[in-house]
Structures are given as C-alpha cells and as structure tokens.
C-alpha cells in the first residue's frame, strides 16, 4: 500500500494541485501584487503593473476609512455573538435529538432544512419577517417589545437580526456534526460515570464535552469563518443601510464608492481581510485542538 502511494502520489495529487493553483493560489498571488498598485479593474494607471506601483498607499488608506473600520468592528461584534449562539443552539438541538427516539430522522431533516436555502433567498424572506411580521407581532398592539420591531432599521438591532437569521440557517448543519460526535462517544463511559455516581450535568461536563471537542473544533471553525465572511444575508437584509455593512460587503462597495473604481484599494482591503480571517481561524483551531482528548 505504501509503495502504491509512493509511486502514484504525484499523478494522483497533480490534478488537484493544478486546479488549486489555478483558481486559488495564482489569483491570490496576483491579487497580493495588485494590492500594491493603482489597479482599476481593467487597466493599471500609467499602463502597466509596474508603472502603477503605489507601495503601501492602499494599505495606509484602509484604516483611514471610517467605513472600513466600522465594518471591521461590526463584523467582529457579529461574529463573537453569532458563533456562541449558533454553537450553543446546535449543541442543544443535537442533545435534544438524543431524546427524540423514533422521530429522530424527521427532526434532523427539519432542523437541517434552512441550510438548503441560499443566503440571498433567506435574507429576503427574513427581511419580510423582520420588517412586517416581527414589527406587527412585537409592536405596540402586540407583545410590545420595541427591540424586536423594525430590526433592520438600526445598527444594533440589525446585528441581532442577523444573528437570529444566521442561527436559524447554520444551527441545523452544525447540529449534524455534533450528532455524529455524540454517536462516537462510547456508551460504557457513561455507564462507568453513572456507577461512580456522576449526575446528568457532571456526565455532560466531564464525559460528553471533552469527548465532543473534535466536533467543537470543526463547528467553531466553520461558524467563525462563515460569520466573518458573511455576505449574502447582509446584502439581502439591509444592503449596508444604517451602518450595517460587514467586511465582505464593504470591500465589494469600495469599487462602487470610487470613480474610476479603485480595485487596488479594494484588493488591499481583501488582503487585510484574509489575514484577519486566517489569524482568527488558526488561533481558534490551535486552542481547541489542545483541548481535544483521545478516547
């Protein structure tokens, strides 16, 4: 078997590597280069890449842009809340499924369904819900909870509107990962725990949670990356009104806010965005990996 892999490693890996290089690595490197130039999307100021070289100008201007900084803070705020809410909701759903008995398949399907809707379609559905249904339901003539009315017309309220929507969408998917993790925990651990007198909470705290850490690593990574890069839902719900642009949308807008379109600037923002997502993602994986235990 080892000989097989040794002999066939390159022929088998090459197609994937070439594809990866062509659609990810090379564009990424070109993008990195362009972020140091006055690139306008279809041309370089002055005629070529080298004549339009502007050094670190694009990077220097990133943090002078109030909109970019606001989008950055907003994205981090949203991600911090959404990751916690999505993971906890997903875990609760997964634990609940343990008690669902025969109907487990049906519940699993129902919880997973929202994930099948695209971000834009979902966003427009929820826009209607937030603008009309919530506003009616929680308005003065309803349950009178002002925070839940007109949620898309306020920076802070919209943050939570996004959290509600994203949780509804992502929790089912993350639940599936947790369910798989839960199924992998040997039942005898619980029996041993029960014999030693551990109650429900203690069994969860000292058996379920540590054994579930590999799933937690994956779930946290997926929600972190997904929330940091959120775009469709942001576009559909507010399209950036009321200072609700997250980073992806803000970068997309940079070329529309400038004439001629400043793609070089947007590219520099995208590089900073990438570095940010990479650092946060890797740090999270490193930390949660350390907490994983072997069965």
């Amino acid at each position: 078997m080892r000989g097989y892999y040794k002999k066939w490693f390159w022929p088998l890996a090459l197609p994937g590597l070439i594809l990866f290089a062509a659609v990810v690595l090379v564009p990424f490197l070109i993008g990195l280069l362009y972020s140091f130039t006055a690139w306008r999307g279809t041309y370089f100021v002055g005629g070529s890449v080298w004549t339009s070289f502007v050094g670190l100008d694009n990077y220097a201007r990133i943090f002078q842009s109030r909109q970019f900084v606001h989008a950055l803070v907003y994205t981090l705020q949203f991600t911090a809340i959404a990751v916690v809410v999505v993971s906890v909701a997903a875990l609760l759903l997964a634990l609940m499924l343990d008690f669902a008995g025969k109907r487990v398949g049906a519940f699993r399907t129902i919880f997973f369904l929202p994930n099948l809707l695209g971000g834009l379609a979902l966003g427009f559905v929820w826009q209607f819900i937030f603008q009309n249904v919530f506003t009616l339901l929680f308005g003065e003539n309803g349950l009178n909870i002002p925070f839940l009315t007109n949620m898309t017309q306020d920076t802070t309220k919209n943050l939570f509107a996004l959290v509600i929507m994203v949780t509804w969408q992502m929790a089912g998917y993350m639940m599936i990962i947790f369910v798989a993790g839960l199924n992998n925990i040997p039942r005898d651990l619980y029996e041993a725990g029960a014999l030693d007198g551990a109650g429900g909470w203690k069994r969860f705290r000292y058996i379920t949670l540590p054994m579930l850490m590999p799933s937690v690593t994956i779930v946290l990574f997926l929600t972190l990356a997904g929330c940091l890069k959120l775009l469709d839902q942001n576009v559909a719900l507010t399209n950036g009104s009321f200072n609700t642009s997250m980073l992806s949308l803000q970068i997309l807008r940079t070329v529309r806010y400038t004439q001629p379109p400043d793609y070089g600037q947007a590219q520099a923002q995208a590089v900073v965005f990438f570095v940010l997502v990479a650092i946060i993602g890797l740090a999270q994986v490193y930390i949660t990996k350390k907490k994983e235990v072997d069965a």
Partner: protein, 505 residues
Amino acid sequence: MNVNSRNRHRAGKKWTVAAAVLTLGASLLSGCGSREAKAPTDYDFYIFNGKTENAEALDKVVDRYEQETGLTVKVFSLGTTDSAETLRAEMNSGGRPAIFSTNIGGVTEWAESGAILDLNDASDPELKALAQDVPEALRLSVDGTQNYGIPYNIEGYGLIVDTRMVRDLFGADQTQPFLNDFKAATYDEFETLVKAVGDYIATGAAPSVKLNGRSYAFVAQKTELTSQLTGVFAEAGAEKWTYGDHMGNMALNAVFGSAVAARTATEEQVDELQAPLAKLARTLDLYSTHAAGPDGPMERGPSYINSTTASYDVSVQLFSSGKALFLKQGNWVYPNIAKLNTDILPTLTFLPIKLPLEQSDIQVDGLTVEKFNRSVPEFVPSYYAINAKVTKLEQELAQQFLVWLNTSKEGRAAIVEDFQFIPYNVDDTVQFDNELNNSLIQYKLDGDTLSNPFNGSPAGGGYWGQEVLGSILQERYYNRAGAWTADDYKTIAREAVQGWKDVMY
C-alpha cells in the same frame, strides 16, 4: 531511502511545484497586460448596450442595418445598474465591443484607461462633425475639453401630475391657467398650495390659493377623482435615489451648471452647497409631511422607509391609482404607469420642482431664482462611445453605424419610434404618444432646463447621492416621527457637504 533524505527529496519537489506555480502566475500576469487588438472572426463589430429600455428595439434596428449594409453586428444589452462590471469584463476580454455605452460618471474610467476615443479625433469626418454638433452642455467629457460620446437620448424629471386631478380641484376652465401659473409661481406660493391641497384632502375645504399672483379657488364639492386623494405627494422613502440623487441634484444645480463643474469643484464651491442643501431639506420636509399612503396620509417613521411599503413600485401605484396629486419622477416611469392605469396616460404632464432659493444661493452664471423654479432637469443618461482599443476597421465600421443611426432618416425615425427616445437634438417636429416626453420637449424648446451636476459629485449616485445624502435623510430623518427644525435642515446640509469633502483628493 532514510527519513532525512526523503524529506529533503520532498522539499525539493515542493520547490519545483512552487516554481511551476509562479511561472504560471507570471505568464497569466503578462498575458493580461499585453493583449493586442485582434480582428473578430464571427462578426464585423460589437455593440455593448448598457440600457435595457431599448434592448429589443436596438436588435431590430441593427437587423435592418445589417440587411442594408451586409455587415454582421453583435449586440449585447444589459441594464444600467449591473452593466458596469460586465462591461469591464468585456473590455478586458478577447472580443471587445467597438461601441459601448457609458455616461458622465463612467467616462473618467475609460478616459484614464485610454479605451475611449475622443470623437474630436474620429477618423470618420461625418462622425466628427456629428460630435461637434452636440451642444456643449450635453457633451461627454472628463473636464470639459473632450468630446467622448454621442448621446443616446434625453431624460428628465419633475413633478408628474394628472391634469384631470387639477381640473377636479380647481375647475375645468382653470386647468390650463393653473398649469401655466404653477410654472411661474414662487416657492412660497407652491408651499401654500401644498398645504391647502393637504387641508382640502383632509377636510374637503380650503381657502383659495395664489399662484403667480392669480387666485385659484377649490371646487366646493370633492369629485370622484379628488376624493381618492390621500396625500399631495407619492413618495418612495425606501429608494434613496429618489431623494439622494434626484432631489439632491436640484440643490447642486444652484452651484454647478454641469456634472463637469461639480466634478472639478474646489472645496470652497462645495461649501457653497450648504445653503441650497438646507433649503432642499426644507422642501423634502414639506413633501414628506404631505405624503400619500394607501388608505390615508403616509407618516414619517419606520414604515416610511420600509421596502415593502415605500418602494418605487408602491409610489407609482399610489400615483397611478389617484391617491396622490404629484409624483416626483422622470419620464422613465411612463411604462410603469401604463401597466397600472392607461386612463391617466393622455393627461400626464411635468411641473417643475421648486426650491426656496434666494439669488445669493445661486452661483451659476445667468441663473435666476425665477428661471430655476420654472425649469426641470434634463440630461443625457447614456452615450455611445467608440472603443479605441479595437482594430481600426472595427472603429471605422462602428463610427459609420453611429452616423447612420443619428443622421439617416431611418436611423432618426428608429430613435423616436422604436426606442421611444427623445433625441438629444430634438426639434418641434418630434411628437410622441407619451405625454411626459412631449412635456420634456416643451421645456427644452422653451430653454427651461437644469442640468445633472449630481453625476459629478463623488462617484455620483453610487456614493454621494445615496450613501451620503440619501443615508442621512433615510436613516435619521425619514424613519422617525416628529417635526424637523431649522437646525435639522442645517445639520442635513452640513453633513452632506462634509461627506463630499471627506472623499475629495
């Protein structure tokens, strides 16, 4: 092979892969920069049309042109909002358009890239002459010295009114005098009129009003038409472009005579916008406190900017069903109204938007308050431009097509009859079934037109119009109940000016 040497071996391979990737990258990179113009094989030249309104008609017109000349022309049409990115892709592709559409905002991009031909240097003498005949105010240029395009058409906007509504408010014999006097009326008279109509809608009675000094008394009994009214204006609070771009443009017209003047403005000139913008805010206050809703007045507040209750479509619906006296829109709204209510089409006309300006607010040479208040903005939304980066032959053929379209009898007929466009060089022989077009032509022939300086504000509607002015109004004023104060007017103006200056460099 021991472990160490295997690792070294692997490391060596890694570097081979990296080198291969870099080479591939470098070759792609150089490929982007140095693509030469190549003659197309399956067509003679290619038109990229950034306007959907005439998409079908253009196909037919081009078919006729192909039959006449034996040429093969590729046409691709796409709506204005999404066309910019697609055009960029096409301009970078192997099959570049020879004719593309752009506008006073987009021209900076193509001029900087060198892809747009200055028609003062056109190789076809007829096209050169045609371009030089384009009135100076309508020319496509970056700073006023170039002449980059042939206008598609003229569009304009104002307060659209159904004259039957005027008839039912003030009496049949008063309709025409009212329309004439409205045009000449001052802002104060307009404001009194709006408030009186508002009272009349609410109570069925209001004191008579003066327009241009003449008195107009309301009809004693509401008619079938006027009893449907729920407000004076059909507003679209969810659409920032309706006030950020188009109403903002009114204020800009006090300081800048053209988009180029706005684009090349100094900081001092931008500061001069403060007064007109504050007065615009006062006008928008008047509009939004007299807005029509489906069953009664539409109040400012969250639902005033809600996209399900205050969209463009909703505002057109409100006006078409007779709930509002005025709809502030352009002639592009005609097909939308036609879909909803054909009865009102023959009696539609434009009235001018007025601002409470004083002469000291106006910086444009020769513009008076009176002229400002009787004029409507008319401008060129799109131009045909020639791509300087296609082969000489394609450029030549493209130029001939534009000459044919704009000077031949068939071409000119196509613009009016097939495209339903007001030609930029319109004269009094042009008549439409579309009364809104006819109304715009009349303003143009009378010389009562304003310009489109908002297209020269920072990134035009893409930034200043909507993200600055539009956002301030929508997110902090339209969305809450309560009166606006004179200080609010000033705040709106100050922040809109600051938003402009923030991105000047």
